[in-house]
């Protein structure tokens, strides 16, 4: 037993140091492509850290969104940036931000070191045992409609946060669209390997997303994880060169985009009218309401994330002018 604890401890120590080391290297290395690749590796190690900290839901979310989708977003952005730079004939090297604190050049690391030491002290000053809200969660689980505690917090106890968070996603997509197209669309024909990969993998991804959504009620998983896996299927299709084109501006597509946040907000309003309380799910129907909310949320999250990856605005302007 003793050796096992020692093994676990040294594993934690190694993981911790690798995280910090990777973060340092990725932020300070010369090559941006390398930085992004290291960031994805960093995200995967973070997912490992979440597992070590008994947070499997967060690990799933991190692996799918934090490392996967963010990585894909960063890589395509870098590729587009390279195209822009080639067209404009500009090159960039690792450069200090001359505008920020030029005079404080040596002071900045020092000040940050002091901040870090102070924060570290504060972390250590926390009481060694604190139940947080775990007892409140445990007592109220029976009335939450689900048996998995993270889902209960996300969709029921603090469902209002999740309602607003869906709108954050939607606003970022509207923002991305309102800035307009970033590059000229260039169609790529996928090679046979990517083609096969996509054909085989997309159905599997859809299946995995459905599983994650369903399992969220009683085990790690849920709308955000399922939505991002489904979004990954969309990203693969987009990488294949599939372009939704006109679909993006059609009403059915827009309805899917807003279904998650919209249904959440309408549910909140209806429950207020019926029960006099925002988002107060009747205990006997809580499970089914949460499942309905999660299903629409999964679809919306998936489509929003994939659309963020595409980042091309729909051609709605042509349609209305």
């Amino acid at each position: 037993m003793e050796t096992l604890t020692l093994l676990a401890l040294s594993f934690d120590a190694l993981l911790n140091l690798s995280l910090l080391y990777l973060a340092w290297i990725l932020l300070n290395c010369e090559d941006l492509l390398k930085a992004i690749v290291l960031f994805v590796a960093f995200g995967l190690l973070m997912a490992l850290a979440w597992v070590r900290l008994d947070a499997p839901d967060v690990a799933l979310a991190e692996a799918a969104i934090g490392a996967g989708l963010t990585g894909a977003l960063l890589l395509t952005a870098l590729a587009k940036l390279r195209v822009i730079e080639t067209n404009k004939g500009t090159t960039q090297q690792l450069k200090q931000d001359s505008e920020n604190f030029q005079t404080l050049h040596y002071m900045t690391p020092l000040a940050l070191l002091l901040v870090a030491i102070g924060l570290g002290y504060v972390v250590f000053s926390m009481p060694p045992i604190s139940a947080g809200l775990s007892n409140d969660v445990a007592t109220n689980m029976g009335n939450s409609g689900v048996s998995h505690s993270v889902t209960a917090v996300l969709l029921n106890f603090r469902g209002y946060d999740t309602l607003l968070e869906m709108f954050v996603l939607l606003v970022s997509l509207l923002g991305v669209w309102s800035f307009g197209s970033t590059t000229s669309q260039h169609e790529t024909t996928p090679g046979p390997v990517l083609d096969t990969l996509t054909r085989r993998l997309v159905p599997v991804l859809i299946l995995v997303a459905a599983y994650l959504l369903w399992v969220g009620a009683h085990a790690p998983g849920g709308a955000f994880q399922a939505g991002s896996v489904l979004a990954a299927a969309g990203v693969l299709l987009l990488l294949m060169g599939w372009r939704p084109g006109g679909y993006l501006s059609t009403l059915p597509f827009r309805l899917i985009l807003v279904a998650g946040p919209g249904l959440f907000a309408i549910t909140a309003a209806l429950l207020y009218l019926l029960k006099g309380q925002l988002l107060a799910f009747p205990v006997e129907y809580a499970g089914i309401i949460i499942f309905a909310l999660e299903t629409t949320a999964t679809l919306s999250i998936a489509v929003i994330l994939a659309a963020l990856f595409l980042s091309e605005p729909p051609h709605s302007d042509k349609e209305h002018i």
Binding site: G118, L119, Y121, V122, S125, M126, S130, A131, G132, L133, D136, V137, N140, N156, F157, R158, G159, Y160, D161, L164, E165, F167, V168, L170, V171, S172, L174, G175, W177, S178, F179, G180, L251, R254, L255, L257, V258, P261, G262, A265, I266, A268, A269, Y272, K275, G276, Q277, L278, L279, A280, F281, S316, D317, H320, I321
Partner: protein, 488 residues
């Protein structure tokens, strides 16, 4: 009938109506403008309803989902929230009517959904009693604000929006770290429970430092104001009005709320208040001098915002001895600044639309050719300078009174200097509106809705000066400033 009004879920309407309205605008872009205007109108009416409700019944508390703090999220409305909601409603009405005329077709379909989501985020922010929920509303507000700031495109607007995005994201992250420390220190994210459980400790100090730093960055308090002038100066005028009038005030509101409820009583507050006061004074002087030096009208107004934010922070040192009076004065100023600054940006937008530029020295007889915009600018300027009988005058007068009573002459001097500098930069603009430019310019017609919305907001800012007693009594519902009162 009266029962219906008193029991009606105004709070739910205030949060959900703009969010759902935004969705409708997004789905049916053909009716976006109409839906947007209706949504804003009914949201404003709901503020009236909520005001009636809490005037009769006292503070409003609602446990979302029926769980109640600490497990669930509580909504909370008192006089302070009501004042911020009212300012939001007034500015929202004015800016929406203006925007209906301002944005062309293509921009209009993009503007309305994002703006309504921003309105929903603001209302949700003023109504929550949960510091993590505040983080989510802050992010919703911040991303929507950035999207609007970059709406017009072009190098300056994009640079301003990018700078703004980096500042607002950094501010939210630092705030979130403070929230994380508070949660783990005291086991709750509910403001009222935190106030009961918190005690002076390293956790409180660190959390206060982080939350204050994050929110100061978002409020653009000197010297963390660097992002504000480019963002507010280069956004489309109605967006600048929203950003300057409401968005920076929202983060100030959070800072004030948390200071009053949690940190003020714990953090040995004379040093911190003095620091806030010093930064506020520096903001007033620096912002005003910079405003005076600007050659572009919108940048001048943006720097004026930096200065006017300084006044709000002057209340910190004054409040240690006279909490209610100092905070009432500051909030009165915040309210009248919201109206006046929105009016000023809209008037500047009219001049920009009219002449195709906003060079101050080139305003070319705006007073004759665009009298309503010039009048709006002058009336709003009255309130910014603090001339009687405007709302700005009442706010400054109340604050001066407190400062004189306490013998804080340095604050009195800074306030008077700030007023003089404001007079200088506003009269500089007004002077140029009378003079003729060397070569006459092409001019473009400005729709009446844009002219009148700017003017009505400016008139409201002046009329606010006559409403001191009812506004102050509404503000003190629920005694939001009571806790920081030091009993002798």
């Amino acid at each position: 009938m009266e029962v219906v009004f008193k029991e009606f879920p105004w709070v739910a309407v205030l949060i959900l109506l703009p969010l759902l309205g935004g969705i409708v605008c997004f789905l049916f872009s053909g009716i976006a403008k109409f839906t947007g205007l209706m949504t804003v109108f009914f949201t404003a009416l709901s503020v009236l309803g909520l005001g009636w409700q809490i005037f009769d019944n006292g503070v409003y508390r609602h446990a979302v989902g029926g769980w109640g703090a600490p497990l669930g999220i509580d909504l909370y409305a008192d006089g302070l929230s009501l004042l911020m909601l009212a300012a939001t409603a007034f500015v929202a009405l004015g800016v929406s009517v203006y925007s209906a005329g301002y944005f062309e077709r293509g921009y209009s379909t993009r503007f309305w959904p994002i703006w309504l989501f921003l309105l929903g985020a603001l209302n949700a922010l003023f109504l929550t009693a949960d510091i993590f929920n505040l983080y989510v509303t802050l992010e919703l507000m911040g991303l929507a604000a950035v999207a609007l700031a970059g709406l017009a495109g072009g190098k300056n607007a994009l640079t301003g929006a990018m700078r703004y995005l980096l500042a607002t994201l950094l501010g939210s992250l630092v705030y979130l770290l403070g929230v994380a420390l508070l949660y783990h220190g005291f086991g709750t994210v509910d403001i009222t429970l935190l106030a009961q459980r918190a005690e002076a400790s390293p956790v409180i100090w660190a959390a206060f430092g982080l939350i204050a730093a994050g929110l100061m960055l978002k409020t653009a308090l000197f010297p963390l104001h660097f992002w504000l002038p480019p963002a507010h100066g280069s956004a489309p005028p109605p967006v600048s009005a929203l950003l300057s009038a409401l968005v920076v005030k929202a983060s100030f509101y959070i800072l004030l709320r948390l200071w009053l409820e949690i940190f003020g009583p714990l953090v040995s507050n004379t040093d911190v208040s003095t620091l806030f006061g010093l930064l506020g004074a520096a903001a007033i002087l620096w912002g005003s001098v910079q405003a005076l030096r600007q050659t572009r009208l919108k940048l001048m107004i943006a720097y004026s915002t930096v200065a006017q934010i300084g006044y709000l922070f002057l209340a910190f040192p004054l409040a240690t001895a006279a909490g209610v009076a100092a905070w009432s004065a500051a909030m009165y100023l915040a309210f009248s600044h919201a109206l006046a600054k929105a009016a000023m940006f809209l008037a500047a937008g009219n001049m920009l639309r009219f002449g195709g530029h906003d060079r101050i020295s080139d305003l070319d007889r705006v007073v004759q050719r665009l009298p309503l915009a010039a009048a709006a600018f002058a009336l709003a300027g009255m309130s910014i300078m603090g001339l009687p009988p405007s709302g700005g005058f009442i706010g400054k007068w109340l604050m001066l009174e407190v400062a004189i009573k306490q013998g804080r002459w340095e604050i009195v001097i800074v306030m008077i200097l700030g007023g003089l500098l404001a007079a200088a930069y506003i009269f500089k603009v007004l002077g140029h509106t009378f003079t003729q430019a060397p070569s006459p310019h092409e001019s473009k017609a400005v729709p009446a809705s844009m002219e009148w919305s700017a003017l009505l907001l400016a008139i409201a800012a002046v009329l606010l000066g006559f409403l001191a007693i009812p506004v102050l009594s509404l503000l003190n519902i629920g005694n939001p400033f009571g806790i920081s009162e030091v009993t002798p």
